[in-house]
């Protein structure tokens, strides 16, 4: 009740809650496609690669959103360029490029600002969300949901069966970079809630949980968004009550929900799976 009272009383807490819920939804939706395409590492990479962009934005005095999108996309293109034009494998290329961007970002930030800012960017500080940040998160949410709604067919096909997508003449690379843009936007929106280091958890943990529960993409996306939002609410609650870092609390909650699904999911959970295989082996023995 303490939390509810505080929520009614403090404007900053309302903003924090609304922003975290939006972040849970955005990351849940984008993350569904990220895990189905086997791009979890890419998610981690892009989230780190926004750091120099944030620093440059400070320098130029513009909203950090623009700089972050710029360096995030530049890194995505760089990763693709290196793996396509050399014998370096994709995951190695990801490793090289994102650590480079991250290192550059750390240097830029320490040159520019005090180390407390760096700490907030890395680990999030949801209680310091400003009104403009809340609006940016809301706009990002609308763009992400809109893009995924309109390109649903194309995203489904390029994720599920890239060969057929090519045979249909779909612009595979363009769709890849659109998804990378959405991924960068989701990351930027999450900066203050969970911070750069933990964004990847918001992208893949709720999506992976949903993947264990359903066999249908549209349901998976919806579930993933709901799980993301719930993790945010519960995480923020614990963060407020016990004075914990909000990002870490949210991620721990998301992981707990994942573990529940991992053991108990009726379709793909460990428990039912072992029941089914036991029942199977008993029925085979009976037939023998």
């Amino acid at each position: 009740m303490e939390f509810l009272d505080a929520l009614l009383e403090y404007n900053f807490l309302q903003k924090a809650l609304l922003t975290s819920i939006m972040v849970g939804i955005i990351c849940g939706i984008v993350g569904s496609f990220i895990i189905l395409r086997g791009m979890s590492l890419m998610g981690d990479a892009i989230s780190h690669a926004v750091l120099p962009g944030v620093a440059i934005s400070y320098m130029l005095g513009i909203n950090f959103f623009f700089g972050a999108i710029f360096t995030g996309l530049l890194t995505a293109i760089g990763i693709g360029f290196i793996s396509q034009n050399s014998r370096i494998k994709h995951d190695t290329s990801i490793g090289i490029m994102f650590t480079a961007a991250f290192a550059l970002g750390i240097i830029l930030i320490t040159l520019l600002k005090s180390s407390t800012d760096l700490y907030h960017i890395l680990f999030g500080n949801v209680l310091a969300v400003r009104t403009t940040d809340m609006w940016i998160t809301l706009i990002v949410g609308v763009i992400v949901i809109g893009a995924i709604y309109f390109l649903y067919k194309e995203l489904l096909l390029t994720s599920f069966d890239p060969t057929i997508a090519m045979a249909y003449g779909l612009p595979k690379n363009l769709i890849h970079y659109i998804l990378m843009t959405l991924l960068t936007m989701a990351t930027v929106a999450s900066l203050q809630t969970v911070g750069i280091v933990l964004v990847v958890a918001m992208l893949i943990t709720p999506a992976a949980t949903a993947y264990l529960i359903t066999d249908r993409l549209s349901t998976m996306i919806t579930l993933s968004a709901i799980i993301g939002a719930c993790s945010s609410i519960i995480g923020l609650y614990f963060s407020f009550i016990y004075n914990l870092a909000s990002g870490a609390a949210i991620v721990v909650v998301a992981t707990a929900i994942f573990l529940l699904a991992f053991f108990l999911s009726p379709k793909h959970g460990l428990l039912w799976r072992s029941f089914r295989s036991k029942a199977n082996s008993i029925s085979i023995k009976k037939e023998m």
Binding site: K153, E154, T163, Y168, D215, R216, L217, M220
Partner: protein, 247 residues
């Protein structure tokens, strides 16, 4: 009968090694054609080149006299089953609905009309009862029938199938070949990459025999002659002789 596929002077290489050299042939609509040849003969490569799925060094492909990029809607492709992620969260009906995407174009979603049509296509391969199953729950033959239904859903003029009978049961194989023959009788063009020579005689009207180059193309009887087959399978035969098999 009109020429539906025309391949001229096709050269494809992988990492500098030639895979297909100077292949040319044309196929008319209303024909059921098999592409045969030993392993590594470039059979799948030719199919992928027809669809422009791989870059080629030289050559041209014409579909009903037009460039491939204008004719993609008319071409249905059934890739090898090994290229699919069977854990993907997708149902049988949604898989078949993919066949309606080219006609729908960008942004538009499949509606009731498309769903009814997809169910109709599933009925044609005897898979309508499984429409709600996740695709990984099916047997190999059932999976292949679903992908044939997806190709049907596209209302294409040309069907290109890559090794459709590998790893599937006899019932499914029989059902698929009957369906392909029916499509041929309706005037469609069917091209099948195939490696089981024993069935080639019953299945196809015409054969394209490949071994990196075009060895021979013609009616099934003219291609399945010892002198001609020997040209493509020479290396295999030399090996058999070496280990003491009498030809």
């Amino acid at each position: 009968m009109t020429t539906s596929i025309e391949v001229s002077d096709l050269f494809v290489s992988y990492f500098g090694k030639p895979a297909v050299s100077g292949v040319r042939f044309s196929i008319r609509s209303g024909e059921l054609v098999g592409i045969i040849g030993p392993n590594g003969a470039g059979k799948s490569t030719v199919l992928k080149a027809i669809l422009h799925l791989i870059p080629f060094d030289k050559g041209e492909v014409k579909i009903f006299g037009k460039k491939v990029k204008h004719m993609r809607k008319k071409m249905a492709y059934v890739p090898q089953r090994s290229e699919i992620d069977w854990d993907f969260p997708i149902h049988v009906l949604d898989t078949v609905l993919i066949g309606t995407y080219p006609e729908l174009g960008l942004f538009r979603r499949p509606g009731k009309k498309e769903k009814d049509w997809a169910m109709e296509c599933l009925k044609q391969v005897g898979m309508e009862k499984f429409y709600k199953h996740q695709i990984g729950e099916l047997s190999g033959g059932q999976q292949q029938r679903v992908f044939i239904a997806r190709a049907l859903a596209q209302r294409a003029e040309i069907f290109l199938l890559d090794e459709p009978f590998v790893g599937i049961d006899m019932t499914s194989e029989e059902m698929i070949i009957q369906l392909l023959k029916r499509l041929r009788d309706e005037g469609k063009t069917i091209v099948v990459v195939h490696h089981d020579l024993s069935k080639a005689n019953d299945y196809f009207d015409e054969l394209i025999l490949l071994n990196k180059e075009l060895i021979h193309m013609g009616s099934t009887e003219t291609v399945l002659q010892p002198s001609i087959m020997l040209k493509a399978y020479e290396r295999e035969l030399t090996f058999l002789k070496e280990i003491g098999v009498e030809a």
